[in-house]
Amino acid sequence: MARTAIVFGASGALGRAVAASLARDGARVGLTYCRGEAVARELCATLDGAVARRLDLTVTADIPRVIDELAAELGSVDAFVHCAALFSTTGGPVFDPLAAVDEAGFDRLLAVNVRSAFFAVQHLAGVMKGGNVVLVASIDSVKSVPAPVPYAAAGGALVAMARALAKDLGPRNLRVNVVASGVLDGGLSTALPARLRAEYLKHCGLRRVGKREEVADLIAWLALQNTYVTGQTVVADGCL
């Protein structure tokens, strides 16, 4: 079975849970970080065979290079998880009001959330010999919920991208899917204003936020065990 995986944004709150899930399922993980070097070191220390590289996702030219380096250390790439995202165009844990978005911020968010995924998969298509790609987004990419517009737009782009990539890469036995999660117990979800969080809980069937491990397990399954789901966006939101 598949045994190596690259995770972009593994130093993030969800990313590290994904790395841990993958490792628990027997995979060696190659992870990238930008500012979370300490987390990356810790993951490398605790997860069997994990390796790390720093990668600024806005620098497109670095993406193939880092992928190749990680692939070389791992020996192969059986799965790729894109788990890095900016929630706000200003970089902080803030819910952007529409009027506050400027062009530079917009471009930067799309670069990290979407463009980097595109160029990563473009390169990996030549590196991976079959396998799974999982792109991570939130429910605002597919459901009607209040969300910062640039962030939701990026998620929607990933959804369509996965569909098109699935068609393109299917003949090469590469499957591409999105996991869209609801509000979680950490990570980007902490930027959600209290009022929206309360509304979510009120309407969420399970009446709780999701645990990062729960979504990470789903991502890990789709990354390592999946053989026929492709082009889909799988939602994990406790029935909103």
Partner: protein, 245 residues
């Protein structure tokens, strides 16, 4: 430690095809006991698969449209197992007929098995699940209920109904910590799509990104994951598994 260690599972339509693969997959993941129903009895192979994986196997001849018999079966399992943790509503029928030839009895039959049967079985099992505040129901839907593909109208309607049922049921029982999902396979080898004429099959495969029909085994593997506690935050969703059609 498997994904479903210790779980007690009921699979309708489990004597062959996808149902049989699901029985095997859940047993392989450590289920303690697996019961399955079929319309015509039989299921020796399913029983063997389950027992080979180390689980208790039980086979029953029950139609999902028979509310009384279904309730009886559920009561029996509740009593002897102490409860049912997972229900897989897999039993379903189709009919290869163009609209012009579908008469009322045909319509009623397909809707009855595919929709009412799912409702009746789910309701019977939910009683105990609600009492225990725990459980998972997985409905097997179909691509043919989601997309405009040549499909018998009544079959497509019934599968679309299952998607709607999944959504509403999930919403209602989530408060009791019960999950309800739908897994909608595309074309499966040896599946109901077996009755698709050659040229259609060829056309399908051309448009399928992975270029092949799915296998029962891989669908069953995903089903086993979805009903496990590892997937605890997914509910109310219909997940399509169609190889990129």
């Amino acid at each position: 430690m498997g994904l479903l260690t210790g779980k007690r599972v009921l699979v309708t339509g489990g004597s062959r095809g996808l149902g049989r693969a699901i029985c095997k997959a859940v047993a392989t993941e450590g289920a303690r006991a697996v019961a399955f129903t079929s319309l015509h009895g039989g299921g020796v192979e399913s029983t063997q698969d389950i027992e080979a994986a180390g689980a208790e196997a039980r086979a029953y001849q029950v139609s999902t449209t028979d509310a009384a018999a279904t309730a009886q079966l559920v009561a029996l399992l509740e009593k002897e197992w102490g409860g049912i943790d997972v229900l897989v509503n897999n039993a379903g029928v189709s009919q290869t007929l163009p609209l012009a030839l579908i008469d009322e009895a045909d319509f009623d039959h397909v809707m009855s098995v595919n929709v009412k049967g799912v409702f009746l079985t789910s309701k019977a099992v939910l009683r105990g699940m609600m009492r225990r505040k725990s459980g998972v129901i997985l409905n097997i839907g179909s691509l043919l209920g989601l997309r405009a593909i040549d499909a018998p109208v009544h079959y497509a309607a019934s599968k679309a109904a299952v998607h709607g049922l999944t959504l509403a049921m999930a919403k209602e029982v989530a408060r009791h910590n019960i999950r309800v999902l739908c897994l909608a396979p595309g074309l499966l080898e040896d599946g109901m799509g077996k009755n698709v004429p050659e040229h259609r099959l060829k056309d399908f495969l051309e448009h399928c990104a992975l270029g092949r029909a799915g296998t029962f085994e891989e669908v069953a593997r995903f089903a086993a994951f979805l009903v496990s506690d590892r997937s605890a935050y997914t509910t109310g969703e219909t997940i399509l598994m169609d190889g990129g059609l």
